[in-house]
Symmetry: C2
């Protein structure tokens, strides 16, 4: 089934212990739509400036992604994020954020996308996420991501969104921040009480914990020799997860679990290179190979 | 098959966000032998002082543990450790260590235990671990644990021990400290190069990563609503692991994986109460129930 992803499209300047890159393609919607495109028909919604490289738009198109909803603001500049990672690659230090065209992003969903059955509201102002949701009347499965900034600054908007989403994706520190609970099981259950049917807690190199009223599912991260650049790992996870779920076309526990592992597989590729470099050249047989390796890694 | 465990038997004074306990039974060999006793015939070797409570010895005996090797030093005092945990229960802050009788522990293995086929050298001075190994000539499967203090102070002794053990159990920070590698996959492989056939890296609330030349296996920790006291979790893991392995009687990958999950199950019980309180009252059907819950938690 078709999946619509709305979120940021950005240029990132990133430094890790393994090197640095200046103004490379990034943003929550870029990572997640590229990851999703390996599994299902995907449309990308976002906003960029006139500086956005046609080659970057072509990358999406080459992967079969519908970019009708990727709007260019005349005279505007693309959102820019700059950050740095130390030896502990679990957390980025943000050096600079230039919202640019994202600051005034007022998402208007093209008519042809308003009945998309699967919708992923990638990390974005919760008000903008709600506005998209208002318009996609045909959405049957809705997932949302968020971040510490919105929990701090827009908690009410975020809490208003939660009853309207089926699945909340959130990282470990943010789950604790949002819920006020240290235990992730308690944090997940508290957040369930605010609306979503399922909370998927992303733990970086430690994997994923999925909490719903019916079940718990835990998956480790795929162990890599080196993580070169963790930027976008959570977004890539989300894209692989939602793409796999849309491909399955149902919310049965087996589909959810397989989707979580597919998300983990995609994230494990993402962090092997800077920006979208590894996803760009990724082949389906490599995905299948790593999924099988994941089965060998975890089965007992 | 029979399992011999040598390590510390201690009195612990522990403070966690959930309360505190003064001079309660602890020590690496206490936790691990009690955990192992649910799976296989277990013998405990260690040293205590005259202050050691007969009721504590009786606890081991009640669980069928052979305490012939638990020596009492006349006039001596039992090893005492005092520590504190903050909200992040992954790491203890040591407040005080009184080695007492452990300082001069010169392990002499009783004749009847010298052909024990499974041997676990719980956390202890690597010189003392080697001395035990010298005496247990019948040992077919040898595992060892260690800690940051020995890596700092007795690295050469530890490196001399490694080629003589099949399995090294070590926690995440210590694996990095010993190997000088940040990536756990690389850390594990480097340690494999020093002798052991298998390195089991314990990651606290994040589970376990098993590295050998043939395979990787990752298991999450069982997600609990609350961790009341993490003291002994690693030792309890090791005891459940070695007990299950000795019960299986072979080192096939299936037996190793089952043993790792059994270790995780036992550790998840340990942290539900202070000291050995939860293990003390634990029933076999509870262990089986949580093993099944672990299968539901991780299968996809």
């Amino acid at each position: 089934m078709k999946l619509l992803i709305v979120g940021s499209v950005a240029y990132d300047t990133v430094k890790t212990p393994f090197g640095e890159r200046t103004r490379v393609l990034g943003g929550s919607a870029s990572f997640s739509s590229l990851a999703a495109s390996f599994f299902t028909e995907t449309a990308l919604m976002g906003v960029v400036g006139e500086d956005f490289d046609p080659g970057d738009r072509a990358l999406f198109v080459q992967h079969g992604i519908d970019t009708l909803g990727l709007r260019t603001v005349p005279g505007g500049k693309t959102f820019h994020w700059s950050g740095e990672y130390g030896r502990d690659l679990n957390e980025a230090k943000t050096l600079q954020t230039d919202l640019n065209v994202l600051a005034t992003f007022d998402p208007e969903v093209p008519e042809s996308l308003r009945d998309t059955p699967y919708l992923f509201l990638a990390n974005l102002d919760p008000k903008a996420q709600a506005k998209v949701l208002d318009q996609v009347k045909g959405a049957k499965v809705v997932a949302a991501d968020t971040m510490n900034f919105w929990i701090d600054q827009r908690k009410e908007d975020l809490l208003a969104l939660l009853p309207r989403v089926h699945i909340l994706l959130i990282n470990e520190a943010e789950a604790r921040q949002l819920s006020g609970e240290h235990s992730l099981v308690l944090a997940g259950r508290k957040i369930l009480g605010w609306g979503p049917k399922r909370v998927i807690i992303k733990r970086g190199e430690y994997g994923v914990l999925n909490v719903s009223s019916e079940d718990l599912f835990a998956a480790p991260a795929y162990p890599l020799e080196e993580v070169f650049d963790p930027t976008g790992a959570g977004d890539t996870f989300a894209g692989g997860f939602m793409g796999s779920l849309a491909q399955a076309g149902n919310l049965e526990p087996a589909a959810i679990r397989r989707a979580i592992v597919m998300g983990s597989v995609m994230a494990s590729f993402d962090v092997e290179s800077f920006s979208l470099d590894r996803l760009r050249s990724l082949r389906k047989d490599e995905i299948e190979g790593r999924f099988e390796a994941f089965e060998r890694l975890t089965s007992f």
